[in-house]
């Protein structure tokens, strides 16, 4: 109802009115997102180091990042995590979303509840939860030992495995919310038309449902990439501590080393990677938008 009213209002309004209505959110975004990002990029070009920097222009921080294998390694490590996590996120969340979108009556609502519930906790709490879950004497290891398949507990934590599992778990709800919307929106008559033309369930899925859900898939892709690139708590709590993601490097440079220009340069590179990731996913979905 309200949505309709706002849409009507926007429809009727002149260009002037429209900007007037949009002004508060635009100002908010400008003040708290756009200006700080430009500020950050500016500082990333300032000469200086730990505890001290002054206005000026230098590429030293960027060169330092790209020329030092250790720093460049954080970027590669971040990308590696992203590429490990994203395919699982896409496949799992698609399967779950499909189940929810096609289940009738109360079942769908219950599944949706189960999916959304983890979102009521914060990232940190979830990361700590995984710490307990995967610990040496945690639930998983206790069960594995009880089955007798293993003689001693597995090292499930403080490694890439823990990061990847926790990330997949964290991102799936968000990806699902995007996908469910798209899957529910697919007109049933397309599926019925396919049926009457002799397509079975698998062929209907392959030729109709899957292609029509590409906008949702690319949305899920975007969600996954953004999360993987920007998450800090999970690799911090569950990682080995030997390998840094870019977010961990930024945190260290700001809070421990106090090298703000360098931290800003790393952050700028991270923003750039995110933008590239988004551009690629949008490009992918662009051709597949249907009227």
């Amino acid at each position: 109802m309200l949505k309709q009213k706002i849409a009507d209002l926007l429809e009727k309004s002149t260009a002037y009115n429209r900007y007037f209505l949009l002004a508060p959110p635009l100002l908010f975004i400008a003040a708290f997102f756009i200006i700080p990002i430009f500020w950050m990029i500016r500082i990333s070009f300032y000469p200086g180091g730990s505890f001290e920097y002054e206005p000026g222009f230098t590429l030293q921080h960027y060169l330092r990042f790209f020329l030092d294998p250790y720093y460049l390694g954080t970027a590669l490590y971040t990308l590696k995590i992203t590429m490990l996590v994203t395919p699982f996120v896409i496949v799992f969340s698609y399967a779950v979303s499909y189940l929810i979108a096609t289940s009738t009556g109360k079942k769908g609502a219950i599944y949706l509840m189960l999916i959304v519930t983890p979102l009521f906790t914060t990232e940190v709490v979830r990361a700590l939860g995984f710490k307990i879950f995967l610990a040496k004497h945690g639930i998983i290891n206790t069960i594995l030992l009880a089955t007798g398949l293993f003689d001693e507990p597995l090292q499930l934590i403080y490694n890439d495995f823990a990061i990847v599992v926790a990330l997949i778990h964290s991102i799936i709800p968000y990806a699902c919310l995007v996908l469910i919307g798209v899957l529910v929106g697919i007109d049933k008559s397309y599926l019925e038309a396919a049926k009457t033309m002799g397509a079975g369930r698998i062929k209907t899925f392959w030729h109709v449902t899957l292609p029509l859900s590409i906008p949702g898939l690319s949305g899920a892709l975007v969600v996954s990439i953004i999360w993987c690139l920007s998450i800090y708590s999970i690799p911090e709590f569950l990682g080995s501590g030997a390998k840094y993601t870019m977010t961990m490097l930024i945190e260290e440079q700001i809070l421990s080393v106090f090298n703000w220009p360098f931290a800003d340069a790393v952050a700028a590179i991270l923003v750039f990677l995110t933008v590239v990731g988004l551009a690629v996913s949008f490009k992918f979905s662009e051709k597949k938008e249907f009227k």
Binding site: D187, E192, A193, M197, A199, H207, L212, K288
Partner: protein, 363 residues
């Protein structure tokens, strides 16, 4: 041979009975219409024929074969949806060829048939477009082509023209009739538009509240309806309520008040007895007007006063208050020699007994 046979089919949605004991037979090559008001169960009936809904009772036979429990894939029918349901991500070629591809026909055969079908529906050269790049009328034709290419036992159409503007709709009506005549395909056409049904149908089945009321040719349905519902639903009929005051072998007299009555021929379809309350129906265009002072005399003439005139282009719609106290409407063609009446004019109204349908009121 009967192309389709429905035997007392039922459908429940929860507690509501959407389709209630519908039985009918459709002949080979017939253009058969399911007509009824919104929500009367037309779509549900069609979907059961297609196999998209399971029946809760009764049986469905297509060309003598019991298909009641078969999936849509196995029924060899084609369904054109109200919104056409063209796959938005597939080209026109792939849309039309979809069913053939499912049958695993070779690509070259498919392309040839698609091209041929696009000729039939008058859209040659549209193969590579997407549905979103076509107008409504063109999409409608593609949907038809997609159905026809499968050479189905039955072609099922669910209000295929209701999303089109008036002109396109009229053109598509004659094109559909033409295609049907050429290909001779048994067609079941669902609509709530009676002019569409009257104009295109071989036979019409009228539905109300999940039940089948009557089946007949457009002429039968229009001129001599069986039920009161049909009489009220089809055409623009005037209804006058009265009491049967005398019945002879050939005539029955319906009295409206002290000094006005109507003599209508006895009808075997609608038997009445003296004293019955009845409703007399007569189509708006079957009424005739005469000047108030014209020497007409005889039965079935009534005095009236023009209350209102509505100009409709091809005709004038007169509302006339009769001496019986009821108001009737009459469509008078706006031809040159048609007499004109003004608001407030007194005139005589003739109700031709041959066109009067006299139906006993339900208790």
């Amino acid at each position: 041979m009967t192309a389709l046979q429905l035997e007392k089919i039922d459908k429940y949605f929860g507690k509501t009975k959407a389709v209630d004991g519908v039985s009918l037979e459709v002949q080979e090559n017939e253009m058969f219409f399911l007509l009824g008001t919104s929500g009367c169960g037309k779509t549900t009936t069609l979907r059961m024929i297609a196999g998209l809904e399971q029946v809760d009772g009764g049986a469905i036979r297509i060309k003598g074969r019991d298909v009641t429990r078969l999936t849509p894939q196995k029924r060899q029918i084609a369904l054109v949806f109200q919104n056409w349901a063209l796959f938005p991500h597939k080209t026109i070629r792939d849309n039309i060829g979809f069913g053939l591809k499912m049958q695993k026909q070779p690509k070259t055969d498919i392309d040839a048939q698609v091209e041929n079908m696009l000729q039939v529906v008058g859209l040659p050269g549209f193969e590579d477009r997407l549905p979103g790049q076509l107008s409504g009328g063109q999409q409608q034709r593609v949907a038809l082509a997609r159905a026809l290419v499968l050479n189905p036992n039955l072609l099922l159409l669910d209000e295929p023209l209701s999303n089109l503007d008036l002109n396109t709709r009229l053109r598509m009506r004659s094109e559909l009739v033409e295609v049907h005549r050429r290909l001779g395909l048994t067609t079941i056409f669902v609509t709530h538009d009676q002019t569409e049904a009257l104009a295109m149908a071989d036979r019409i089945a009228l539905m109300e509240d999940g039940k089948l009321l009557e089946v007949g040719t457009p002429h039968e349905i229009y001129e001599s309806p069986h039920t009161e519902f049909t009489a009220r639903f089809i055409g623009e009929k005037n209804s006058l309520q009265g009491t049967v005051s005398a019945v002879s072998d050939t005539e029955q007299q319906v009295r409206f008040n002290e000094d006005s009555y109507l003599s209508v021929p006895v009808s075997s379809k609608h038997p009445v007895q003296e004293g019955d309350r009845v409703t007399v129906f007569i189509n708006a265009e079957k009424i005739r007007f005469f000047k108030a002072d014209a020497d007409t005399g005889g039965d079935n003439y009534f005095q009236g006063t023009v209350e209102n005139i509505m100009y409709l282009g091809t005709s004038n719609k007169y509302s006339v208050k009769l001496q019986t106290g009821e108001t009737i409407v009459h469509d008078q063609q706006t031809t040159q020699d048609a007499p004109k009446y003004e608001k407030g004019d007194r005139l005589q109204v003739h109700l031709d007994p041959a066109h009067c349908i006299c139906i006993k009121e339900k208790q």
